[in-house]
Structure formats: structure tokens, C-alpha cells
């Protein structure tokens, strides 16, 4: 790791000022940034730590509306009792991220701002039609995630929370990369008042996406049998040493089916 100046932000406003220092980067849980710095692949001059800002913490459930502060850890999301009732699929998803150490440090805001193509949260937020709240504006999830490690966040813009309406039914099924345990394919299905939406992480060569084929099959019939024989095209899916595009296409259908079964259970 190169030498770096560390700043602990006291508030979002404070962080917004500090981020203008040199070539500063925002630090939340640091689960991606710190390893990148340790291997000298990232070299910010300054780090602005958001993880102790009180206003970014916590899960709030009000009726059907769920709001999660950006610096809420995966562990907190996985174990929040109100959320477990309102949207157990998201609690379950958070419980599948990394390992206990990662879940106690990593945060939802950090995960979505990084937008790793194999991260779990982007699938959930896209399928849930969530809104990402920043210190400047509100952004719909389908406008927020822009390809591999890219979002619509502007320089210095800070994610403060995510909010969504709890769906009637939802589930997340993840097939892990055997080495990294990230998603090779993660499928989040949600059935809400606007119909069924299905988002896929880990597989797309341009990041998280909604599967039209699965959504079309489930639109009028949210059952596993609706997915019998549904084929997902391998086009635009990634191929790497762990999984071919064909294999990922197959897994999307299999994981979708398992997610529907879990959502209906």
C-alpha cells in the first residue's frame, strides 16, 4: 500500500467537503478498495471514511417502505428484525455476502457505489425498483447501475441511503464462484404491484441486468412450472475460467426457478 491520508468524516456534509482533497476516495467498509490499495492497484492520495457517520446507519421500515442507510453493514441488514418481516429476501441476500468478517465491515452503500458485476445488492435493488438517495439527488436503480464498476454517481457524490417498497414476494438465489464466493449467477425475483421483475448479477458482460425471458414467462404465472423449458440466451453473458456463457445462461434459468420456489414457499 502507498502512503495515504486518512480522514474520518463526521457528517455527510463534512465528507462532501473532504472528498475535494487531492485525489481522494470515499471509504466505506473498504472490502474492495483496501485490498486494491494493498496490492497497489489503487492509489488514492486521501481516504474519506464514511463508516462512522451516524446519519448513514440503520434500517428503517415504515409500512411497506424500507430505507437502508448507506453505511449499514451487511451483517446489520441480514439481522434486522423489521426487514426480515418486510423483505426477508434482502436479509437473506445480505447473509450470503462474503464471510462473517466481510459482512461486519462491508456496507450496502459501498457495494452499490462500487457496482462490482458479481456483487449481490445490485440485483436486489434493480429487481425491487429501488431508489438510490445521494447527497445531491434521488436516482432510480435502473438509471444508477451503468455497466462494469460504473454508476451514474458524479465525482464527489455520496450515496446516503437506498429505499424501496417491499414486494409481495421475493427471493434471491446465488450460485457462488468456487474460489471467490462472489456470484457466478445471482438471480433476484420480485413480485410487486407493478408485476414481476427479475434481475441477474454475476453473469452479464455489462453488469447487472433484468432477464426479459424470465420476466415474460413469470408475468402471468409466478410459478416454477412457468419456467419449464425457458431458455436464457448466452449472448452478452461473461465467459471466464470458472464458467462459460452457456453455463451462466443455464444457471440463470435454474437459479430463477429456485428463487421462484423460495419466494412462493
Amino acid at each position: 500500500m502507498y502512503a495515504v491520508n486518512y480522514h474520518r468524516a463526521a457528517s455527510v456534509a463534512d465528507a462532501a467537503k473532504l472528498i475535494k482533497t487531492g485525489d481522494a476516495k470515499l471509504l466505506s467498509g473498504g472490502m474492495t478498495l483496501i485490498p486494491a490499495m494493498k496490492t497497489r492497484l489503487a492509489a488514492p492520495s486521501d481516504l474519506v471514511d464514511l463508516s462512522r457517520i451516524t446519519e448513514l446507519q440503520g434500517v428503517r421500515v415504515s409500512g411497506k417502505t424500507v430505507t437502508i442507510g448507506a453505511a449499514t453493514t451487511h451483517h446489520a441488514v441480514a439481522n434486522d428484525e423489521k426487514l426480515k418481516k418486510a423483505c426477508p429476501a434482502l436479509s437473506h441476500l445480505a447473509s450470503l455476502i462474503g464471510d462473517p468478517a466481510v459482512r461486519h465491515k462491508g456496507t450496502i452503500g459501498g457495494s452499490i457505489a462500487n457496482n462490482d458485476p458479481a456483487a449481490d445488492y445490485p440485483a436486489a435493488l434493480l429487481a425491487l425498483g429501488a431508489t438510490i438517495i445521494t447527497n445531491k439527488r434521488e436516482i432510480a436503480a435502473d438509471k444508477f447501475f451503468k455497466g462494469l464498476f460504473e454508476t451514474s454517481l458524479k465525482d464527489g457524490e455520496i450515496v446516503t441511503a437506498v429505499t424501496f417498497t417491499a414486494p409481495a414476494k421475493a427471493a434471491y438465489e446465488k450460485f457462488r464462484n468456487p474460489a471467490s464466493r462472489y456470484a457466478i449467477v445471482g438471480v433476484f425475483v420480485a413480485k410487486g404491484k407493478d408485476g414481476v421483475s427479475v434481475a441477474v448479477t454475476g453473469a452479464g458482460d455489462d453488469g447487472v441486468f433484468r432477464s426479459k425471458e424470465i420476466e415474460a414467462a413469470l408475468a402471468g404465472n409466478f410459478t416454477t412450472s412457468a419456467l419449464d423449458g425457458v431458455k436464457v440466451p448466452a449472448k452478452n453473458l461473461m465467459t471466464d475460467i470458472h464458467a462459460s456463457a452457456d453455463y451462466r445462461a443455464n444457471l440463470i434459468a435454474v437459479m430463477a426457478k429456485r428463487a421462484v420456489a423460495a419466494a412462493n414457499a
Binding site: A179, S180, I241
Partner: protein, 782 residues
């Protein structure tokens, strides 16, 4: 057996310091004035070095020295060598290319060391390493051994035309051809043994210290064999003569073979210490470990087996291409030859065998012995072939094997080895019983109801440990002898130090070796210390690899104990005014048999050192040395049965049962043996299901971190059902065979045989990852 003697499940003495963080590894060593090194490594798999500019780096904060290969050459430091000469079948010696500890004209794999930077701190050394400017002219690279001999393939070394290092054979080609001519059935297979990264928990490290006052060097290094390191660094690398070089391998956190070899870094750190005038420490980071630790396996094999009409094996033909990487590592030539092809008779009567091995250079990390070293590759060939033959013939895999087992001993195979003892049917029976082999069909039907494919597979392995004897291995090309030494020092108060040339890097020698002493003299384990890993303390030794510490290292201790016992009895007989032949050792005392006359062990020891009352002419003291050179290898063998359930939708394999029935001969500490089996199985199952090192076509290692290289985790493994049987080894005084590698040797074919049984396709590569298994299932449907 006492509670601390041979056969007792004694808790490991060394574990307290390991699990409380009190172990002392090379990185824990601090020498006054010590500075830190970083290596500049090649980012290219193959390139010419046009220019190295170190000026900017030299001016960086904290930098003490920036040194290149040209300076190293100018100081007369030699090239790294391979210590086992193999001759091709045409009689020509192997074609070894030059391996300079620091590359100066050409780099041959990603990670090749080019420049060393020494600085006040590790961070400063790394900063300055980045400032070294090297101009490369990139060359085309070749990573796949099966393509490296193609016309027009990139040439890795000018010494080896077509990248062919040697073209070696063993056995009898004519007899084998004749056997095939009369065959009723022939089974043919193409088999790939996947490349692995060793992944010792402790990365490699070296601390070189040149003492100007004494004109003497000390090297702390992560070595499995510090004496061999000293010998090689003195005799071939011209670092310093042996009397001016001390090598210390303190606590070492795992080796699995990868720490047998002498690497560039320890040589360069020693040289740089003299050059810069400061002690120089280097510790690999995990990326360096992935890139530069010697990798394992990487064989491409075509095998054919001939059977008569009754399914008895008539002959075996094997053609193997072994990828040795960019340079010949210390024992790289022996691994795919004398440690591989000599095991191709398996547990079976095979009248004729012919094996041809081509060793090939590529632009990849050097490949050398890795847990099992050649025997896993041989076992994978044999046991995949036997299973495939059984399927082809429609007969029971167990009965086909049983029919062909060697049953009388000694048994001379057509490929050098002479098996001394074994009972292969006993292991097979034990494994079949433990696995409820007969009940498999029921379990398969139950799994099918859940939509899962259940399969069962077995592997009857044999391996060879304690490579020996010295004269024989010398005649086959080994550059060293393969004996072991021991010194037993009985102190004046009766406590005992055992100095051994074996080296423990996780094996538990401090416990098992002490159990041997306890068994003999009744001295408590606490009063026995095992000393190893320091060339200034232990006179000479050959180190630990190839499961040799029990069979060879402990046998040397036994010889020294024999001498101590003989002298102790003489002293006791004198003190007790008895006949030497009547003295027995019991409960910590030397007694006159059949009487209550005795002298306690410590009193006898004190008498040896006071020398007030010794037999006439006897020298004072009680300290004996022995060298032990075995008469033969030992031959552990056993049967493993693996049962899997495969999810056809995802290709995920779950090992639902794994049974291991091993014959290791006599056992000193069953708990430690079980630990070795568990660890070996984890590595073998890791190879079969999870682990694979992949390079892209340009020679970049794609699996250079744990994000992409799949290490086995506890959750990937079942609870093993293991047992042992015992046909004592007749070749050594303890009847020991060795247990360190069997798990890694025997398990991969059992796993692959089980999965291929489950999915109904015999075409399956390792690692059988979910995507690979899914693709194999899908291929059966097209």
C-alpha cells in the same frame, strides 16, 4: 506401549507455540541492522531485456542498493541447477537451459526475478522497485507443453531444441508390443493431470546475513532441507564454501515439496548482504507465491492397457508429456521419471510395461515435486484406466482389480520397483465394508428420487516413500545420497537431545521422534528435545520430503539409540556388577533382569559424565551418531472409495462419503497419521474438484490469487472414514512405510471415478468444477 511411547496418541508438543502465535518463522527473525528487499519481476512471459535503468530507483528514499543480474554474474554467482541427471533414450544428457538467479538478458516467465532492491523498509523497497526502468522486447510465449514442441513454437532456451529437455523411457518396448499383439481387449485413454499451486500457509522467505568480521554467511530460509540448501549454494552457486555458510530453517509453515528447492531469492539475499553490507530480508507476498513457487503436476498422457480374455492385464503403454515450466527446478527431472513411471505397475501384476516421458520447457513457472510428486500422476493414470476397463468390460471395478492384484512378495515390477510387503485385498475389503459398497444401488435410487445423480468410485493406490538406497539413486542420476543422519546426546542429568537431519514443517517430528526415545529408554517426552533445521547444530542431513522422515529419519535415530543403549547397558552392568547381557531397560531404570538390582537412567547418565567409575578403557560421555541408508523404498498402499451426488442442473458435486483404508506399516502416533491422511485427502480432493492453475496464451497466470484459485475449504470436504491395516515394512527397523502423501496420491482418481460413474460419461477433466461437470453431462445429451 507406554502412554507416551510408540503407538500412543500423544498431543503434538509443538502445537502450543503454533496455535498461540509463538512460532518463530523466517519473517520473525530480526538481525541488528537488517534491511528489506523487494524483487523486480518480469511482467512478461517471454521477453528480451534491452535495458535496465536503476538510477531513479537508487535515488529513492531509504534505498541502500539496487542490484542486477550483470553484477551478480560479475561476482561469480552461479546458475541454478537441476540435481538429477536424466538421459534421453538415445543416451544424450538432458538439455538444461541456464537459470540465472537474476535474469539479465532474457525473461522466461511472469515472475522471473530481474532486480533486487534493498531499502530501509519493505514499503520503500517496493516503491523503489517500481521505479526501476526495464526496457523489454516482448517475444511470443508458449504455455502448453503439448504445443511447445510444434514447429515454429517459441524457443524457451537455446540449449533445448523444440523445447524438449529429454525424451526418456523405461520398461521394455518389445515385450510390451508383444503383449498388445496377443491382447483380447485394449483400453485407451487420454489423461490430463492438472497443474497445481502448492499454497503453503507461510510464504517463502529468506534472510541473508554476511558477517564481515568472520567472513561468514548465515541464511535463514523456508527450507525443507537446510543442509541440501547449504550444499547446493556452496557447490554450485559459489555463494560461499560450506564452512562459511550456515543455513537455518526455523519453524516453517508448510512445504508440500515447494520448499525443497533452492530458489533465486535466498541466493540473491546472501549475495546482496555482502554487496550492501547489511543483512537483507525478503518475504514473498501471496502473489509472488502464486507466480514463483514451483508448481506441481501438469502432465498430458496417453495410455493403453492390454488385457487377455479373462481380463488379466498383459501390458501397459504410456506416453507422457511433462511441462517443466521455464527452468529446471532442483528435482524437476526426477518427478516425471523415477518418481512417476516406476509406479505405473500400480498394485497389479503387469508382465510388460513401457513408458515414454518427454519433459518440455514452457513460459510458465517451474514445475517440480508437489505432495506425492509423480505418484499421484501415476496413480491417476492407473486407477482411471482400471475403472474405465471395468466399465468397458461390464465387470465389477473391485473384482477386476482384485483379479490383477500382486499377492506374493517380494514382487519385482517391470519398472524398477520391487514391492516388499503388502496386502492389497485387505485394504480393498476394508474400504468396501466401511463404505457399504453393497448398499450403493439403494442409495443411488434414493438420490435419483431427489433428482440427484449418485456415483461411486474407487482407487487402489500404491506409492513409494523414503526414496533409496543412495547407491541406486546415484546410478539413476541423483546428485545426492538419500540417507539420513541422527545424533543422540544423553545429557549428564539423563535428559536427551536428538539431532536429526529431517526437518519438520508441520509433520510433528518434535512429538513422534521423542515418542521413539520414550519407548526405548522410558524418559518422559518433556525430557526429550528434537533439534533440527540448523546446519551449525546438526552435522548433515537430507531433509524432509517424499514421506521419508519416518522410514529413513527415524531409522537413523533407531541406529543411534541402539548405540546409546549398548553403551548405557555396559555402564549399568559395570555399576551393578552384572553381566551386560542381563541388563534390561524398564520404567526409567537399567535393571538386572530377574532381580531388584537397578540403576536409574539419570544416574547411569551422570556416571557416564563424571567418569569416576566406568568400565576400563571406556570413553566418558554418552553421545552417539548414526547414518542410515535404506535398502529399498517403502511401499504404502491402500484403497479409497468416494461416493458423490451430482446436481445435474448445476453440475455441483457433493462428496457424500469418503473412505480411506491405508496400509502404512507400523505407526508411531495414530493421531498424527490421521492428520496426515486428512490433509492429504484435502489436497487430493482439492486437485480433483477445485484447484487448477491456468495461464492465458500470452503466459499471464489467470489464477494468481484466491479470487480465482480455488483452495479447498472445510465445507468442501466430508467427514472422512479412515482406517489402517498393517503389513510391516521389512526394509527398516521400525517397519514404517510413511503416510505423508498417500491421501493426495490416492484420492483424485477415486473422486473422478465416482463423478464419471454418476454422470454416465467418462470424459471429465480435473478440476471437476460445477461448470466442467455440467458441460460433461450436457455432452452426453448431444
Amino acid at each position: 506401549m507406554g502412554i507416551e511411547g510408540v503407538g500412543a496418541r500423544v498431543a503434538r508438543k509443538e502445537d502450543k507455540r503454533f496455535i498461540t502465535g509463538a512460532g518463530r518463522y523466517v519473517d520473525d527473525m530480526v538481525v541488528p541492522g537488517m534491511k528489506h528487499a523487494a524483487f523486480v519481476r518480469s511482467p512478461h512471459a517471454h521477453a528480451q531485456i534491452k535495458k535496465i535503468d536503476v538510477k531513479k530507483a537508487q535515488g529513492m528514499p531509504g534505498v541502500i542498493g539496487v542490484l542486477t543480474g550483470k553484477e551478480l554474474k560479475a561476482d561469480g554467482i552461479g546458475n541454478l541447477i537441476c540435481g538429477w541427471m536424466i538421459h534421453s533414450k538415445d543416451g544424450s544428457p538432458m538439455k538444461m537451459g541456464a537459470w540465472s538467479p537474476l535474469a539479465f538478458d532474457r525473461v522466461r516467465y511472469v515472475g522471473d526475478a530481474v532486480v533486487i532492491v534493498v531499502a530501509e523498509t519493505k514499503g520503500q523497497a517496493r516503491d523503489a522497485a517500481e521505479a526501476v526502468e526495464i526496457t523489454y522486447k516482448e517475444l511470443k510465449a508458449v504455455v502448453d507443453a503439448s504445443k511447445a514442441m510444434d514447429k515454429g513454437a517459441p524457443q524457451v532456451h537455446p540449449e533445448a531444441d523444440n523445447n524438449l529437455i529429454f525424451d526418456w523411457d523405461i520398461g521394455n518396448a518389445d515385450d510390451t508390443a508383444a503383449a498388445f499383439n496377443k491382447a483380447a481387449h485394449v483400453v485407451k485413454m487420454d489423461i490430463i493431470n492438472n497443474r497445481l499451486v502448492p499454497n503453503a500457509m507461510e510464504p517463502r522467505a529468506a534472510l541473508g546475513h554476511y558477517d564481515k568480521a568472520e567472513d561468514h554467511y548465515t541464511c535463514w530460509t523456508t527450507s525443507q532441507n537446510p543442509h541440501v540448501a547449504r550444499l547446493v549454494m556452496s557447490a554450485f552457486y559459489n555463494v560461499a564454501p560450506e564452512n562459511k555458510l550456515r543455513v537455518i530453517a526455523p519453524d516453517v509453515g508448510g512445504g508440500f515439496g515447494s520448499k525443497i528447492y533452492i530458489y533465486p531469492e535466498e541466493i540473491v539475499c546472501l549475495w546482496a548482504s555482502k554487496k550492501t553490507g547489511v543483512p537483507v530480508k525478503w518475504v514473498a507476498d501471496r502473489t509472488e507465491s502464486f507466480l514463483t513457487d514451483a508448481h506441481g503436476r501438469d502432465h498430458h498422457t496417453h495410455a493403453e492397457m492390454a488385457f487377455d480374455k479373462d481380463h488379466r492385464i498383459l501390458g501397459l503403454k504410456v506416453e507422457t508429456q511433462a511441462n517443466l515450466g521455464a527452468y529446471m527446478s532442483l528435482f524437476s527431472s526426477a518427478t516425471p521419471t523415477y518418481l512417476y513411471a516406476t509406479l505405473l505397475s500400480g498394485q497389479y501384476n503387469i508382465p510388460a510395461i513401457h513408458a515414454n516421458v518427454k519433459a518440455i520447457y514452457t513460459n510458465t513457472a517451474p514445475v517440480d515435486a508437489y505432495r506425492g510428486a509423480g505418484r499421484p500422476e501415476a496413480t491417476f493414470v492407473m486407477e482411471r484406466m482400471m475403472e474405465t476397463a471395468a466399465r468397458q468390460f461390464g465387470v465389477s471395478p473391485a473384482e477386476l482389480r482384485r483379479k490383477n492384484f500382486v499377492t506374493s512378495f517380494p514382487h519385482q515390477t517391470p519398472v524398477i520397483m520391487c514391492y516388499d510387503a503388502g496386502d492389497y485385498a485387505a485394504s480393498l475389503d476394508a474400504a468396501m465394508k466401511a463404505s457399504d459398497y453393497a448398499g450403493f444401488a439403494k442409495r443411488k435410487a434414493a438420490a435419483a428420487k431427489k433428482g440427484l445423480l449418485r456415483g461411486i468410485g474407487m482407487s487402489c493406490y500404491i506409492e513409494a516413500c523414503g526414496i533409496a538406497p543412495s547407491a541406486a539413486v546415484g546410478s539413476l542420476g541423483a546428485g545426492v545420497g538419500l540417507w539420513e543422519s541422527a545424533e543422540v546426546r544423553v545429557n549428564a542429568v539423563g535428559t536427551i537431545e536428538v539431532l536429526t537431519g529431517s526437518h519438520s514443517h508441520g509433520q510433528g517430528h518434535e512429538t513422534t521422534f521423542a515418542q521413539l526415545v520414550n519407548e526405548r529408554f522410558g524418559v518422559p517426552l518433556d525430557s526429550v528435545s528434537i533439534v533440527h533445521g540448523d546446519t551449525d547444530k546438526v552435522q548433515m542431513g537430507m531433509g524432509t520430503y517424499g514421506s521419508r522422515s519416518g522410514a529413513v529419519g527415524m531409522s537413523a535415530i533407531v541406529k543411534a539409540l541402539d548405540k546409546v543403549e549398548a553403551k548405557a547397558k555396559k555402564i549399568a552392568a559395570h555399576l551393578l556388577e552384572a553381566d551386560e547381557g542381563d541388563i534390561i531397560i524398564e520404567n526409567g531404570a537399567l535393571k538386572v533382569a530377574g532381580t531388584d538390582k537397578n540403576v536409574p537412567w539419570f544416574q547411569m547418565a551422570l556416571a557416564a559424565y563424571t567418569a569416576h567409575n566406568l568400565p576400563g578403557g571406556m570413553e566418558p560421555g554418552l553421545k552417539e551418531t548414526a547414518f542410515y541408508d535404506p535398502s529399498n523404498f517403502t511401499f504404502p498402499a491402500g484403497c479409497y472409495i468416494c461416493e458423490v451426488e451430482v446436481d445435474p442442473e448445476t453440475g455441483v458435486t457433493e462428496i457424500v462419503q469418503f473412505v480411506a483404508a491405508d496400509d502404512f506399516g507400523n505407526i508411531i502416533n495414530p493421531m498424527i497419521v490421521e492428520g496426515q491422511v486428512h490433509g492429504g485427502l484435502a489436497q487430493g480432493i482439492g486437485q480433483a474438484l477445485l484447484e487448477g492453475a491456468y495461464y492465458d496464451n500470452s503466459g499471464q497466470l489467470l489464477t494468481a490469487s484466491y479470487m480465482d484459485y480455488t483452495m479447498p475449504r472445510a465445507g468442501d470436504l466430508p467427514s472422512f472414514k479412515i482406517s489402517t491395516s498393517n503389513t510391516p515394512c521389512p526394509g527398516n527397523p521400525l517397519g514404517i512405510k510413511g503416510c505423508g502423501e498417500a491421501g493426495a496420491i490416492g484420492s483424485p482418481p477415486a473422486v473422478i471415478n465416482a463423478i464419471t460413474d454418476a454422470i454416465g460419461s467418462n470424459d471429465l477433466a480435473m478440476p471437476a468444477s460445477p461448470s466442467t461437470v455440467w458441460a460433461a453431462i450436457r455432452a452426453t445429451k448431444h
